[in-house]
């Protein structure tokens, strides 16, 4: 048996452990402390009887209370839906313009619309509608298909160039170069003209020639001055915002063989109230008209 050392001042045994001359006394643990420990063990075992706990080869013990956190989750989700019903019912009943006028519904739609947007739209349009190359910025004041609430709702519902929806936004720019509608010189000239439209440094002589080409071929959709036409989905060419890259080479490429953006229709994928909420949210991002 190990030798036991006693502390002289108190007469209590030491554990034999020593730190910097300080020795640990081996006072007995209070018995109630031990009992609390046993109580915790019993509690722990009892818990495994009442709640799901032990794994088995094919599953796990369900516990005599039959509790499971999934059921809790669904109850809470149902409760949340119930709590939201007073708003969603009203949103379903009225139009987007009226929703935006009601401060309560506006606040609710902005919060809900943000969640819908982040889940479904942000992949292309970016969080907060910041856009990315080929996908328009939704936070600026430039709209291809219109920035009024009704325009945005139409775009969200039916998409852009979405084949399965007859009401989808449809516009096709001709392949002016590739299909030889314009010859190479004409493409170069009209490119210079477009560069000049948005205040770029254009070759004046070529732009002069290009103006004529533009008036004959492009003005029908983009307008005589290049201001664009939202009815036709023809973007403005006179402002500082470009969906595709805004340099001379990409203008020429676009005229030669245009790129077309595509957006799916959300009607049928999102419920009616969610479409209205995300419309109000997009409208609030910075460019709503």
């Amino acid at each position: 048996m190990a030798e036991v050392e006693r502390d002289l001042a108190t007469g209590v045994q030491t554990t034999g452990h020593e730190w910097d001359g300080i020795k640990e006394l081996n006072n007995p643990l209070p018995r109630w402390w031990l009992l609390v420990f046993y109580a915790c063990v019993i509690y722990g075992l009892a818990y495994t009887v009442f709640y799901p706990a032990w794994p088995s080869l094919s599953g796990y013990t369900k516990g005599v209370l039959g509790y499971n956190s999934h059921a809790d989750y669904y109850t809470e989700v149902a409760g949340a839906a119930e709590a939201k019903k007073q708003f969603t019912d009203r949103i379903a009943a009225i139009g987007v313009a009226e929703i935006a006028q009601d401060p309560q519904l506006l606040e609710f739609s902005l919060a809900g619309g943000q969640a819908v947007f982040n889940e479904n739209c942000a992949q292309c349009h970016g969080v907060g509608g910041q856009g990315q190359r080929f996908y328009p910025v939704l936070a600026d004041d430039n709209w291809i298909w219109g920035g009024k609430l009704a325009d945005i709702e139409q775009t969200v519902r039916h998409g852009i160039r979405h084949q399965d929806d007859p009401d989808t936004r449809q516009a096709q720019m001709l392949r002016f170069g590739a299909d030889e509608i314009l010859d190479k010189a004409q493409v170069t000239d009209v490119t210079e003209y477009v560069v000049g439209l948005s205040g770029g440094d254009a070759d004046a002589v070529a732009a002069e020639r290009g103006a004529k080409v533009f008036a004959e071929n492009c003005a029908a959709c983009h307008g005589a001055g290049g201001a664009g036409n939202q009815e036709l989905g023809a973007p403005s060419l006179v402002n500082k915002i470009w969906q595709f890259t805004g340099d001379r080479a990409s203008f020429a490429a676009q005229i030669n063989s245009p790129r077309h953006g595509v957006m799916p229709a959300w009607q049928g994928r999102l419920s009616d109230d969610l479409i209205k909420m995300v419309t109000v949210y997009v409208h609030s991002l910075g460019g709503g008209q």
Partner: protein, 472 residues
């Protein structure tokens, strides 16, 4: 030097039950007064009313967790002002250090809730089962109708006090009259019943059963309170130089000389609520309540010896007295001055910040995505969320102005003008858009200031933020 022993002790020891004996005297009186005042305050305070107008709780002291407000008479605290609680906690801590440096463990001995409720529970125990000797005898007796009756009565009264304690605690978080009515009619919520049961249970357990075990094994304070002591701190001390060698009143030492003043009657540890023998010197379990002083003074008076063999005194004075030198109290010491200054500084800071705090606040949070956008005319636009905290009861209309950039334009989403209404006692959140010509921006970020002005009172509040743009 060590003593060798072949017999290791058991790993566990049963709690040795302590039977504190009744005692009379100055410190016992102070303890009764402290108990009366503290329990009185505890039970009465939730019932005080304070009219704050229609639709607002009229309880003077209330922490409304669901409404996210704390009320203290004329002061109303919002969640973001929780630092006032931090201030109160700091005052509590330094107050404790200050009192400890001056007077030792007065907090433990007189005002700690554990001490106060244990004292009350001991009073009940003594009242029903009798004093120390009777209680010890009763516990050794076999079970009888009389013993069972006494035990049932004691635990019944304990539980009743515990229930009142737990109930009163819940009253600080609920309207007191409503809670009492709901509790008695079975209308209270499960949470309310649950918390009252919890606090009833802990009071009964801690004051009835655990008692000194809380001080010895659970409480962290005894472990470091000695760090606030110095040789001038007043402590409950045994005058060993006068008391030893101890012995019976008339006994003489072997060599015929007189013994010390201590007659070894043991009353000092019989009255001790934690079962400490103070003659062994300073120890962790001593809560400094002074009951042993009362007990010893009673004995000294009976045997005709000078009082204060156990006394409230400093270690410095004890050394002086032992050497026959004059003893002197000194309360003004570097550490007490330091604690006092800290307490005064924190109090002053709290009073100033409470007295001059604004009941209107505004904050502006910039969108993180997009950081900025370019508009079709080349202007740069930033989006922000603005929060206006209207901390008064009246609805108010605010004019929003942003300064710092030339030709800055402001638009509030959903509002025709830069004028917004926030209902009383609530937070209004709005989305605002700012845009400015790129030429008027300083650099990637330009400082701006948003100022809101109450249209009725003309009170204003500002917040500094930045406007982001492309690198120049």
């Amino acid at each position: 030097m060590t003593i060798q022993d072949a017999q290791p002790k058991s790993l566990f020891a049963a709690q040795e039950k302590i039977y504190p004996q009744r005692v009379f005297g100055k410190f016992r009186l102070i303890k009764w007064l402290a108990l009366g005042i503290l329990l009185g305050l505890y039970y009465i305070m939730p019932w005080l009313r304070w009219d704050r107008g229609h639709g607002v709780p009229d309880q003077a002291l209330l922490v409304d967790l669901t409404g996210r407000r704390a009320y203290f008479f004329w002061i109303e605290i919002w969640p973001q002002e929780v630092y006032y609680f931090a201030g109160i906690l700091m005052l509590g801590a330094f107050g404790l250090f200050f009192a400890t440096a001056l007077l030792g463990r007065v907090w433990c001995g007189f005002t700690c809730p554990q001490t106060v409720w244990t004292d009350l529970f001991l009073f009940v125990e003594r009242w029903i089962e009798g004093d120390r000797n009777k209680r010890m005898k009763l516990d050794k007796e076999p079970m009888s109708f009389r013993k069972a009756g006494q035990k049932v009565a004691k635990h019944g009264v304990w539980l009743l006090i515990a229930l009142l304690t737990g109930g009163a605690w819940a009253m600080y978080f609920n309207d007191a009259p409503t809670l009492v009515r709901d509790f008695l009619t079975g209308q209270a919520s499960t949470t309310q019943y649950g918390f009252i049961a919890l606090f009833t249970g802990t009071t009964y357990l801690l004051a009835g059963w655990a008692r000194e075990q809380v001080c010895i094994y659970m409480c962290p304070w005894p472990r470091f309170q000695a760090a606030m002591f110095d040789e001038r701190t007043l402590l409950v001390t045994y005058e060993e130089w006068r008391g030893e060698p101890r012995g019976k009143v008339k006994a003489l030492a072997a060599d015929g000389t007189k013994l010390g003043d201590c007659i070894d009657c043991g009353l000092c540890y019989h009255v001790c609520p934690t079962g400490v023998d103070i003659r062994l010197g300073q120890q962790l379990a001593c809560i400094g309540c002074g009951l042993c002083i009362d007990a010893c003074n009673g004995i000294m008076e009976k045997v005709g010896r000078p009082a204060n063999l156990i006394t409230y005194d400093s270690l410095y004075n004890q050394a002086q007295r032992a050497d026959g030198l004059p003893a002197k109290h000194r309360f003004v010491r570097p550490r007490t001055i330091f604690y006092a200054i800290v307490i005064m500084l924190i109090s002053a800071a709290m009073v100033v910040s409470l007295g001059w705090r604004s009941r209107l606040d505004v904050s502006l949070q910039a969108d993180r995505s997009p950081i900025f956008v370019r508009l079709s005319n080349g202007d740069i636009q930033n989006g922000y969320s603005i929060k206006i905290l209207n901390m008064v009861r009246e609805n108010a209309q605010y004019d929003i102005k942003v300064t710092g950039i030339d030709q800055l334009k402001l638009k509030v989403i959903g509002q025709p003008a830069a004028l917004v209404t926030v209902p009383g006692d609530s937070v209004g959140t709005f989305r605002i858009l700012l845009h400015a010509p790129a030429a008027s921006l300083g650099d990637e970020s330009t400082p701006i200031t948003v100022t809101i002005e109450d249209q009725t009172t003309h009170e204003t509040s500002s917040h500094d933020a930045v406007f982001r743009g492309p690198a120049n």
